[in-house]
Symmetry: C2
């Protein structure tokens, strides 16, 4: 077996341009409708092997996009980092750094010296792939609320059609955190003969009811904003920024752990002398942080995309989709599975990964599961790069096509 | 010592009418302003002893009012139960049952055969006590956002002035859960010679940063609703119901535990056959529950009161208010203290009560602390009546004026 340790200092993939590909055929959807003229935004890092057997598909979470690694050729005004609460951690946003740059590159977890890493923006998103803000080719107007309610399986179907158009039929691995981990699972279940391995980080087979509730509250905040206008806000000069700001605030707090908030902000006042007896102004540092994060997010994200993606990840439920049991869901799966979760993640808790591991083990499927003890909550999947890297490198090294021992 | 067990089946205080009292003088506030013409809504249960030594003041939480026990003489259209997520548990709401009826009455925790129990609506509320929806006597118009930003200490100052007007100078006990527990602590600190005992349930000396954040998000949801109109919505025909609904949804989820949500709703769909691919309609039972709770709440509560009360409980910080330490805050306290917390309460966690107990013990103050192992989260203080009752009865029995052993 190859030594999984990086043989040289991990490097950057450099400056990257997001490209676009139009799917040649219509995309059938779970709801019964189909989408025509679907465009997929994507980036690639590393070199495709002549055998086309070194492809790793990296899947982003709710607020991410196709810019997963390197520096954006045209740095955006606002951050494109997948962000969550990790958005502001290192000033990388201003440089247009990819949302998982710490994990993708030469010598990194997804080593671009070996793998051809592909990242797409998901179906329904607002980062260049067709979504509710795209023009409906049949009307010439933005879809808005007429965009079909897509599922995680639909997103994966779009990714598969996209890869087929690139001439890629098999994946060495599909990897992602949170909603990205759901897509990795869905890939291995829907297309078992095309996926050799999946890396499922801080994810679940079905969001727990509290997570369903948080997502519902975030969507309510957007839809109750009069500026949402039933979803037809494009071109009106008004956007539901107020509501989406609240949605993002809810998200931020669920992505962090209570101890992380203690450590980061405590109960520190913005003005150290005393309280100012104000309702409208942020008084505590954490209040100011929430406002800042909300403002940054509404500049870069589309509210309808938020609604559609939130709904899709809420619907995701492998047992329900497969007759009521995880055993049935995983019956035909052949991919080796790596599960990573984080002790302080209460939105996608380790228990969910344990349930997946248990179901796979009971079926005799190859699965490896790790719980990393770390304090930052769900955001760990973006922050704890150093501790995930050796686990992922070691796991990918055992992929049959790479097996050397 | 008297046997703390009820000697007969616990009963009801019967039908009760909320009364009102106007404070004779102006009320000075922490912000430097003073309020004139303050009215206090209150109810009393039981009989005041000739020695006036059997008074228990019961303090409600964020969304409660003076109707703590018995049946309302005029049942309200919407529930007046303090509610939280417990609101819908027994249909009591329709009968106008007081928010802590299970705890107050003959033979109950706060035994009206022995104690004269007084419940008021807090300063800043919307249940009959002066608050932002009251008329400013100087202008004849509602205060709205011109109402002063009050603190927990201001609320306690109003309660003290109210009791003085009733001729009550000493309290056998002050009791409350959540924000009500904060007031009990504040009473014992501000007026140590007037309080013999405090019962502090599911409360804290300072809300943790995550709780500060949830409260900030709830307030943002209200203030970002255009119908809030800077707080001057009264008389306009528009109220920030949309935003306050979101605030209430956030509240509900923080009042429950994740396991309680699992047990209560799971991931059950509203329509058992399958998902319906809808953004706007509630799909899961928990989504429907949230909408229902939001609708019920906005009918009975004033949005500005929500803002003011949320701000006050966020500000509450005994260490900050007393030079930086709990030891300094508790230095002059003489009341015996009973602390009750609940294992699954993540908004007012047992750790906060433990910090209070530790600080009191270190000063040699009499304190008794219990963590009840129960799954319902913060709502336990409204739901776990049977398990709190013997603890409270036993504790109150040891109040010097009642000591018989």
């Amino acid at each position: 077996m190859t030594d999984p340790a990086p043989t040289r200092k991990a490097g950057s993939v450099g400056t990257v341009t997001t490209r676009h590909l139009d799917l040649p055929g219509p995309l059938p959807l779970d709801c019964g409708r189909e989408l025509r003229g679907v465009r997929v935004a994507y980036e690639t890092y590393g070199v495709l092997a002549p055998e086309r057997d070194n492809v790793v598909l990296v899947c982003h979470a709710l607020s991410g996009d196709a810019h997963a690694a390197g520096f954006a050729a045209t740095p955006p005004a606002a951050s494109t980092r997948d962000g969550f609460a990790a958005e502001d951690r290192d000033g990388g946003a201003g440089k247009g750094l990819g949302w998982w740059d710490g994990m993708i590159g030469p010598g990194k977890a997804f080593d671009t010296d070996r793998y051809f890493v592909v990242a797409t923006n998901l179906l329904g998103g607002c980062g260049g792939t067709t979504g509710p803000s795209s023009l409906d080719p049949e009307t010439g107007a933005p879809y808005g609320p007429d965009f079909p309610v897509v599922t995680v399986a639909d997103m994966v179907r779009a990714e598969r059609a996209f890869l087929a158009a690139l001439g890629i039929e098999r994946l060495a691995a599909v990897a992602g955190g949170s909603l990205g981990g759901m897509r990795a699972l869905e890939w291995a279940i829907a297309y078992p003969d095309q996926v050799a391995a999946i890396v499922v980080i801080a994810s679940t087979h079905a969001l727990h009811p509290q997570g369903v509730a948080w997502n519902a509250i975030a969507r309510e905040a957007i839809m109750r904003d009069p500026a949402w206008q039933g979803g037809r806000y494009q071109g009106t000069g008004h956007r539901p920024d107020a509501g989406m700001g609240v949605a993002r605030m809810v998200g931020h707090i669920t992505y962090l752990s209570a101890p992380a908030l203690d450590a980061k902000f405590g109960r520190r006042l913005q003005f150290a002398d005393d309280i100012r007896h104000t309702l409208t102004e942020p008084e505590y540092e954490v209040e100011n942080y929430l406002r800042h994060q909300a403002e940054a997010f509404v500049r870069r994200f589309d509210a309808n995309s938020y609604l559609y993606i939130s709904r899709a990840l809420t619907y995701f439920d492998l047992a329900r989709q497969h007759g009521g049991s995880l055993a049935a869901a995983f019956a035909d799966l052949t991919a080796r599975t790596l599960l990573i979760s984080f002790s302080s993640d209460w939105l996608y808790p380790p228990a969910a990964s344990a349930e997946i591991a248990e179901a796979l083990s009971a079926l005799g499927k190859p699965v490896e599961s790790h719980v990393i003890d770390a304090p930052y909550g769900h955001d760990c999947f973006l922050l704890e790069e150093a501790r995930q890297t050796p686990l992922i490198r070691r796991f990918l090294d055992r992929t049959p096509t790479k097996e050397t021992a």
